[in-house]
Every structure is written in C-alpha cells, then in structure tokens.
C-alpha cells in the first residue's frame, strides 16, 4: 500500500527535514495541533498561510514573506517544502469570501478542479449579495457556490505554489481534495478502484429533484437511501430517507432544519437536533433544495452496532497505513453527527480483530484510490447483515481526532513523524 500512494517519499533520516507550509486558519485546533506536534517531535514550526489573507487577494509569496524575513528554503541544500491544505471551516469570513469567489462576478477564475464545474449553481449570489451575508449559526448560506469558490481557491494555490516551488510536494493534491470533497466524484473514484461503497441509486449522481428521486427509488426497489449534499462535510446536509412502497408513507431523518418565510426563500441550517419529517411538503422542500445544490444518493446499508445502536468508523490513513480509529456510536442512523454520537474505541464497540483488520484494509484501499494524497480520514460502515465494510466518505481533513492514539502518538504527531521519517522499506 505504501508504495502505491507514492506521493510522499519521506526522506532518509539523515536528510534535511522538509519545511512544512500549512494553509489554514492560524491558531485554530488544527494548525495549533500541528505546531504542538512539531514542537514535541523537535521539528521546526510550520509556516501557516492564512486563508483569510489569500482570500483578501494577497499572493502566497507576499504572505510567506510577511511571516519570515529569510525563507528557510532559500538557503542552499534545503529540501523543497511540503505543502499541506487544512480545513477552511470554522470561520464565517472565510466561508463568505469563498462564496464570493464562487460568484460569476469573480474575475480571472479557474473551475478546472471542480468535478462538476459546468453545472450551474442555483440562485447565484453576486459579489455584493455575498458581502451582505450575515453570520448565522449553522446556516448553509450557499453550499454549491461555496464549493465552486473553494475549488477556485485550490486551483489558484496549485498554480501559485507551482510557480514558487516547482519541487514542492503537496501532502494531498489540491485536485484530489476537490474530488474527495465532492461525494459524487469521490464515490465514482472509489468504485472505479474496486473499493466497496454503498450502491449508488442509479441516477444518484445528481438527482434532479424530489419527484425523480422517488421515481428512481421505486423503479430500482431501493426504498431506503441516504441523500447527501454532494459537497457537504460530516453530517451537513444528510438525510436518511425511506419510502414505504405499500402505504406510500415517507420518513426523512435529518439534521437539516428549515426556516420558512413568506417573502423570500426558506433558510436551511444544520440543526443539532435530529429531525424526523413525515410530511411531503417539508421533505420535498429539503430534498429539492439539496438537489439544486448538488446531491448524491446511495443505498442505506443497515449498520452494525452494539445493543441496538449503530456506528461508523473514522479510520485515519497516513501514507498508506491505517492508524488512528474511532467508532462513532449512535442511537440514530446518522452516526457522523459528531455532537450526538458517543466515541468508542473499536474494541469497545465490540469489533473483533478480524473486522478491525478488514476496516483498516478497506480504508487503506480508499486512500490508495487517490494516488496523489497521503492523509485522509475514511468513514467506514460495517453492514449488519454481511459484516462487510463499506466506505461512506473520504475526508481530506478528517484527522482532527481527540484522545485517540496510535503507537503512543496523537494524530498530528503521527503524521509529522511519518512525513519526516525514513522510508518504510528501510532502503538507504
């Protein structure tokens, strides 16, 4: 597996350490975790390039120069840097700036990394409208335009970094981060590599609307499905949806809440309370909204779990090797709603070594499907009936896991150690 990913060729232990540049939000848990880990390992701190600065229009070069008078890689004999993209989440200003960048009014943009870039976004927001957005907890302001802006930013970073450091290595390639983030594309790639995934609803790669989705479900006798916002993270925009073919009844269990208004379109938000809708008006409204922003629909595979609960596993894979893992155990079908799930070790969740080993191998195969990426958190579910693992999600930023260690290291420590360490095969 290690050689198949191939992207990070860790240098020999006696070689100079590559400097690390991280694109992220300075001082948040992620960039902070990386710096702490490097300190503990005796590595020099990473340079953190803030998304906020990039989105204000400053170049990578300016932002790096502002941080350090003398760039370490300017010195002779220094290895070219490693580049790491971290989550752009957690900041309203960044979200707003990305929505603006996704606008059709944003100049000089490149949609080349957007897996479905030609598909128009609904009710596009102009620059001025994006600027007027207000921070409202949980509100999904414009997920598809956000994703378009995000892909444009990735394309820009890829270009600037290539100009500045032709020899630099991305820990995760920007194009692959875009592909992982778009579930339609990610699941295609996984299936193409033979990784087990929940069977997509045919036509599930972007269902047009509620009516066509229901028709597809009936035609294919797939009465229980998950519908996901194609570019949402975690449990954002996820519905466990089922129709009763006998009675015509329907149930949607979801985190999506709706605020209805008379004079303007409804506002959709992530609710911390899991909602259960049984009325067609609410359900069709939410599903239509998801479909407009790009949705992905797949078979709902009954998940195994202890005492009538169910879980999925977040399995981190670093440079081809499965390492940290947590089971997220819930009394609801939406197990990745982090605030409502109990975290357990895989052993506590009742998984035997054979199943754990299959989960690790499946997760490693999932990351291997993205040959230019070295780190991802893979969401794996285990079928209640067959005990077969399936990959539900590939999270390029899925390494923020607390209180879980692997060989005595936290997630960031392990990553920093592996990326700096000698080759696994021990070659000189």
């Amino acid at each position: 597996m290690t050689t198949r990913t191939g992207v990070i060729r860790p240098l020999r232990s006696n070689a100079p350490l590559r400097p690390l540049i991280v694109f992220g939000n300075p001082g948040d848990k992620r960039t902070g975790g990386i710096q702490q880990a490097r300190q503990r390992l005796g590595q020099p701190p990473a340079l953190i390039v803030p998304y906020a600065g990039l989105l204000e229009g400053r170049t990578l070069e300016e932002l790096l120069a502002a941080q350090q008078r003398e760039l370490p890689w300017a010195a002779a004999g220094t290895a070219p840097p490693l580049l790491r993209l971290d989550s752009p989440g957690g900041s309203f200003e960044t979200e707003q700036a990305l929505i603006a960048l996704g606008s059709s009014e944003a100049g000089d943009v490149d949609d080349g990394l957007h897996p479905f870039g030609a598909r128009p976004d609904p009710r596009p927001l102009g620059l001025a409208a994006a600027g007027r957005l207000k921070p409202q907890p949980g509100v999904l302001h414009h997920p598809s335009q956000w994703f378009r802006g995000y892909c444009r930013m990735l394309a820009r970073l890829q270009r600037e970094a290539a100009d500045m450091f032709p020899q630099a290595l991305w820990i995760n390639d920007p194009a692959e981060i875009a592909a992982m983030t778009d579930k339609r594309r990610a699941q295609q790639i996984l299936a193409g590599s033979g990784v087990p995934i929940p069977r997509p609803l045919e036509g599930g790669h972007g269902p047009a609307d509620y009516a066509s989705l229901r028709e597809a479900m009936s035609m294919q006798r797939m009465h229980r499905i998950f519908i996901k916002l194609a570019c949402g993270s975690a449990a954002s925009g996820v519905i466990a949806y089922q129709i009763n073919p006998t009675t015509g009844a329907e149930i949607a269990i979801t985190t999506v809440g709706v605020e209805d208004y008379i004079t303007r379109p409804p506002l959709y938000y992530n609710s911390g309370k899991l909602r259960r809708y049984t009325d067609t008006a609410s359900i069709s409204g939410i599903i239509d909204w998801l479909c407009r922003h790009g949705a992905y629909a797949e078979q709902w595979i009954p998940k195994t779990g202890p005492d009538g609960r169910s879980f999925d596993v977040r399995q981190l894979v670093v440079n081809g090797e499965a390492c940290h893992a947590v089971a997220r155990v819930s009394r609801t079908p939406i197990t990745n709603l982090h605030l409502r799930s109990k975290r357990m070790s895989l052993a506590e969740a009742g998984l035997g070594e054979e199943t754990r080993s299959r989960i690790r191998r499946t997760a490693e195969a999932a990351l291997a499907a993205f040959p230019l990426s070295a780190i991802a958190g893979i969401d794996v579910l285990v079928s209640k009936n067959s005990q077969q693992p399936y990959v539900a999600d590939v999270n390029p930023f899925g390494d923020l896991l607390y209180e879980v260690d692997y060989r005595g290291y936290g997630t960031y420590e392990w990553e920093m150690k592996v990326l700096a360490g000698p080759l696994k095969d021990g070659s000189p």
Binding site: S87, P88, G89, G90, E95, P137, G138, V139, L140, P143, R221, H223, R224, G232, S233, A234, S236, G237, Q242, N244, P245, T246, A249, I251, G257, Y269, N270, S271, G272, K273, Q299, W300, I301, P302, K303, G305, G308, S310, T332, P333, H338, L339, G377, S383, K384, N385, S386, N395, F397, G398, L400
Partner: protein, 281 residues
C-alpha cells in the same frame, strides 16, 4: 440453551433469498433438535412483506424444533425497518404449533393479530410496537393463557397505530384473567398518566411483583396517583424509567421507600434547537 437468529437483509432479499427457505434449512440442520430459542429478524423488507411466510414455515416445520421454548418474531431496528412499518400477521397459529412454548416476543404492530390466543404453557408475552391496535388488546383480553407470568405491552401512540383508549386496556387488568401473572407492563404509552391512575389501586396489584409503566409519558399527575395508593407498596419493583416527572416528584418517589426506578428523566424539547456549523472537519 441454544439460540439462532435468522434474518434476510435487503441485498439477500433482492437476490432471491427467502425466510421460508432459511427456516426450512434450519429445520433440517443437526442443531434444530436442541434449539431452544429462535429469533426471526427482518424477514426481508418487512415494511412491504408480512410475517405470513414466517408463520407458515414455522408451523410447517414445528416437529423439527421439539426443544423450542422461546420465539421472537421481528427483532429488527431502525437501520433495517421502522418499527411502526413492520408488517406482522396473525401469529396465533404459532401457539397451536408449539404447545411447549414459554416465551413469545413480537415486534411491530401493523396487521398484527392473535386471533386464537390459547396456550397452556406460555409464561411470557411481550409485544413491542410504536402503536398497538385495540383489536389486538381485545384479543389478548379474550385470550386463555393460564400460565402467563409476564405480560409486557408497548402501547405506543395513535400516530403509529394505537387506536384505543383506557377502556381497551382495563380489561387486561381484571383479576383472575391471568391467574399467575406477576409482571404487568403497560408501557411506552402516550396515556401513561391515565394508565397509572387506573391501575394504582387496582385489585390486580395484589398478585403482581412488578408494575412496569416505563418508556411512556408519565408525569407528576400519574405519579401522584401511584403515591396515594396502598396497594402499590406491596410491589417488589415499580419501573417508571424514561418519564416526564418533575425533580420534586422524583425526589418524593425516591424517599417513599417504594422499590422504584425513576431513571432517564426526559427533558422538554425547548432547549434542543441548537445549531452547529456546517464545516467542522
């Protein structure tokens, strides 16, 4: 004790597997003779297909399971089928076919019937539903179960099939109806307060060890009635867990000397509508 669970997942069902042939396979296996407990899980998209096939196969092969004492029809969870969508059928032929049966657990109330509820040895009858129909309550009340020790009914809500009222429940509590009954569970009900008030001082309590009013909407109103009763003091266990009683009432019950379980207090929903940011990882 040997126990087997049979279930047909979605994919297996789509691939043509059927519960009837699985039961037949089990009946001709060497373990069938000693099998004492059989759990039937999802029989294949139970929201669309009824339990009729299960009943027919178990009746047909009853002589292959001479040691069977415990039967569970419909053990499945929300990952497989909504409880309120499970399609049952008339399960009473199972009782005639298994005269040595001691325990029957049923999950799911749609199309459920126990038309000939007669059994000399059955000790436990447990019915888990999101809503139990009054027709089934009437069938149980008319049943002849002289050896029944434990009757546990998840009554549910009208949205999911509970179409009865207290008047449909009370006949079950007539003394002498089930002479050996020691455990009565009238639980998971949206009229739990009414039930509590009605059974608090009912003569049936004299024969019970356990009264189970858990998992419902019990509030201070029902609890007051229980506290006011003399008969309730003879119980060995009073299960009120998962309730909506006030903290004061919980404290009163705890200091009452009653062997009461008041765990799992439910909160009203008001403070639960918090929201979380979309991009957290």
């Amino acid at each position: 004790m040997t126990e087997v669970k049979l279930s047909i997942g979605y994919d297996e069902f789509e691939a043509g597997q059927r519960i009837g042939s699985e039961i037949e396979k089990l009946s001709s296996s060497p373990e069938s003779a000693a099998l004492s407990s059989l759990i039937i899980g999802d029989w294949g998209q139970a929201y669309e297909n009824s339990a009729e096939e299960v009943v027919a196969a178990l009746v047909k092969h009853s002589t292959s399971f001479p040691a069977l004492r415990k039967l569970f029809i419909g053990e499945m969870d929300y990952e497989e089928c909504e409880i309120s969508w499970i399609t049952q059928s008339d399960l009473s032929p199972l009782l005639a076919a298994y005269p040595e049966l001691q325990s029957l657990t049923i999950q799911g109330g749609n199309d459920l019937s126990l038309s000939e509820l007669k059994h000399d040895k059955l000790e436990e009858l447990i019915i888990i539903t999101g809503g139990l129909g009054k027709s089934v309550l009437a069938e149980i009340a008319a049943g002849e179960l002289p050896n029944l020790r434990k009757l546990e009914l998840y009554l549910g809500v009208d949205n999911y099939g509970f179409d009865g009222s207290l008047q449909d429940i009370l006949p079950l509590t007539e003394p002498g109806k089930f002479p050996k009954l020691t455990y009565l569970g009238l639980k998971n009900s949206e009229i739990e307060d009414e039930i509590a008030a009605a059974v608090a001082d009912a003569p049936i309590l004299d024969q019970l060890d356990t009264l189970d009013l858990s998992l419902g909407t019990l509030s201070d109103k029902g609890a007051e009635a229980l506290l006011a009763s003399e008969r309730i003091k003879k119980l060995k266990a009073l299960n009120l867990s998962h309730h909506y009683m006030s903290a004061e009432m919980v404290a009163r019950l705890q200091s009452s000397g009653l062997p009461v379980d008041v765990s799992d207090k439910q909160e009203t929903d008001d403070d639960e509508d918090w929201r979380y940011p979309s991009i957290t990882e």
